[in-house]
Subunit: 371 residues, 2 copies
């Protein structure tokens, strides 16, 4: 029996099937055009169905942020999975199991402790197997990863080269979230790729026969690539599958490319404050947006004069941007659609995603959670 | 086989059994001392086990924020449940079922639309039953509820009195989250209770035989009550069961009363920034704290010179408050315990809570989620 989105319990997380298709196809095409392999990051959605879509149906070559994701994908027949997270001792046992189950499972080192950890656990692997390792490079974001020209990086590269298999030099490109102009973005691309190439050359100088790739991530970068990206071998963005208000602000997508929305209802009027109360609190939308952009943390579809001004656990407050809102224009029961600021964070608040085509719910998809 | 908390996968949500016991017993005792009934709010934890504890084992008289909670508690043998959320048409069917299953199920109206909705659906109830209604009063918080002296309030009271059963005048006391001094708190208590009594008198003037109660909520209020609270009949706080850094800042608890922590591990060093990277990103801690208090949004147990300075999805960044942190003092693998700013928000990020006594995990508890 067909179900309409209007029949769903609010709040709920909607995913537009056609937009999802457009976003995934576009990124596959972008990569094809550049001659770059796409290893999509699944942290945004954490579902089998969308990962299959984002790999163009081949279920090979993905990036994950948790071992729960990796295990779910292994169960679902995916292979060639990169666990792009600093490796630590407590995760070795589960990684070893994944190494045995999959033909290709890769781990990441972000500092020398990760390299030491892998070295100390090579004997845990089945005979003939060794760790396949991405070395994380910090191209200026300043969170995790090796500074490319550093003793630590050289040490890591040597250690991996000596007793393991070097898969790639991997960078998140998190700095791309702070760039708003085209010129600055081009310059950021150039600098990032130059740093990766420099890091590569440091390794090749010492190990001329080393075979590994360099790859960049982040949706703002990969959605607005430039020619310089022909010099890398891999893209690993995640957010582009949904996009969100943040990507829109960064020019990484148009509003029509935002494939996910929170559907909410007006549940009460606060007349004396000219304010609508909706059933979209922070348990439905998440607070990442409000923490970064307190005055403008989401978009309400088709309502250019409405803004969400605050949230508590289960309630959102909506006022007019200009003038006073007349509550009577939005009777209790009115449905509103909210484009989240950060879709990865918003999706994580929902145990089910409703995929729809137009008004019709065509699929329900369940993400994995936890660690 | 006994399991130690150190053997758990990080990040995870720990609940200290003894502190939980202290917090629940203290609130029961506070209410007993004042002659007030406790109707604990379950939105903080959403578990059967902790609700049983907070009702002193009787499984009667609770407050919930979602119908999923109400249904879970009904399944678990709880009764006398107040769904403290603005009632709307889309929820009538599920509420009707709960009315049939339970001997006492109560709904809430926050504006006239809620009253109209209930009136229009009285015939949906079984013969001889009518809606049992809490009228939400806005004592100055400004989110939802009736201003006590208003035409709308009088209209609501008349309508409920005429064809339904008035359970209570209910206020959240959300304003208590903005009060830091004892004098201001006392004044807030006085004002709140005065407003509720005034609202009660408005009803009693017209309906002298009306039987209903007045009740106040919020952990900052109920954890620091005063004599004036002897004039109300009900408390309905929720957060006190865990407490958190925010309650500590509001003097509503001591640090030792915070019963929940996120256990996290150092997963990498960012040496050149004198920064530790831990596996507690916003999917483990939530962003409500950082949105309200960006420079000081959690407490790291026993580490008075460490502070969390930022989070991404799966990673937290920790630096020294004063001087430069020497990463070598916190080797990768070091476990840290984080007291969250807002435990309701943090708990909601976890599919399981690990209850421990000392170092031993004594129970795993699973909350409900969704709407």
């Amino acid at each position: 029996m067909s179900k309409k989105i209007h029949d769903l319990t609010t709040p709920c997380f909607l995913v537009d099937r056609e937009k999802l298709q457009v976003n995934t196809t576009r990124m596959l095409d972008t990569c094809k055009g550049l001659g770059v392999t796409l290893r999509p990051h699944t942290k945004t959605h954490k579902t089998v169905e969308f990962a299959e879509l984002s790999t163009g149906g081949i279920k090979q070559g993905i990036t994950v942020s948790t071992l729960v994701e990796a295990e779910m994908y292994a169960d679902a027949g995916f292979d060639d999975i990169l666990f792009a997270y600093p490796i630590t001792k407590d995760k070795i046992e589960r990684c070893t199991k994944l190494m045995c189950r999959l033909s290709q499972f890769h781990v990441m080192v972000s500092d020398l402790s990760g390299v030491e950890c892998l070295k100390a656990n090579i004997d845990k692997l089945p005979a003939g197997k060794t760790w396949s390792v991405a070395i994380e490079i910090d191209c200026g974001y300043g969170r995790t990863g090796f500074v490319p020209i550093s003793d630590d990086f050289l040490q890591a590269a040597r250690d991996v080269q000596k007793s393991m298999k070097l898969l790639s030099l991997y960078t998140h490109c998190g700095g791309s979230y702070y760039i708003f102009t085209k010129d600055e973005r081009e310059s950021h691309h150039q600098k990032t790729v130059a740093q990766l190439k420099e890091a590569r050359n440091i390794i090749l100088k010492e190990f001329p026969d080393a075979k590994f790739i360099i790859g960049v991530g982040s949706t703002p970068s990969c959605s607005q690539p430039s020619k310089v990206h022909q010099q890398v071998e891999e893209f690993h963005p995640g957010n582009y599958i949904f996009n969100d208000y943040e990507q829109y602000l960064l020019n990484a997508c148009c509003q029509k490319d935002i494939a996910c929305r929170v559907m909410t209802k007006v549940v009460a009027h606060k007349e004396e404050k000219n304010m609508l109360i909706v059933d979209c609190g922070f348990l439905a939308l998440e607070n990442d947006g409000i923490s970064q952009r307190p005055d403008d943390f989401c978009l309400i579809e088709g309502e250019s004069n409405l803004k969400m001004v605050g949230m508590t656990q289960e309630l959102g407050k909506i006022k007019a941007k200009e003038g006073e809102l007349n509550c009577q224009n939005y009777p209790v029961g009115t449905i509103l659609y909210i484009y989240p600021f950060h879709s990865c964070a918003t999706a994580a608040m929902h145990g089910v995603y409703y995929v729809h085509s137009g008004d019709e719910v065509v699929q329900t998809v369940k993400p994995c959670r936890g660690w």
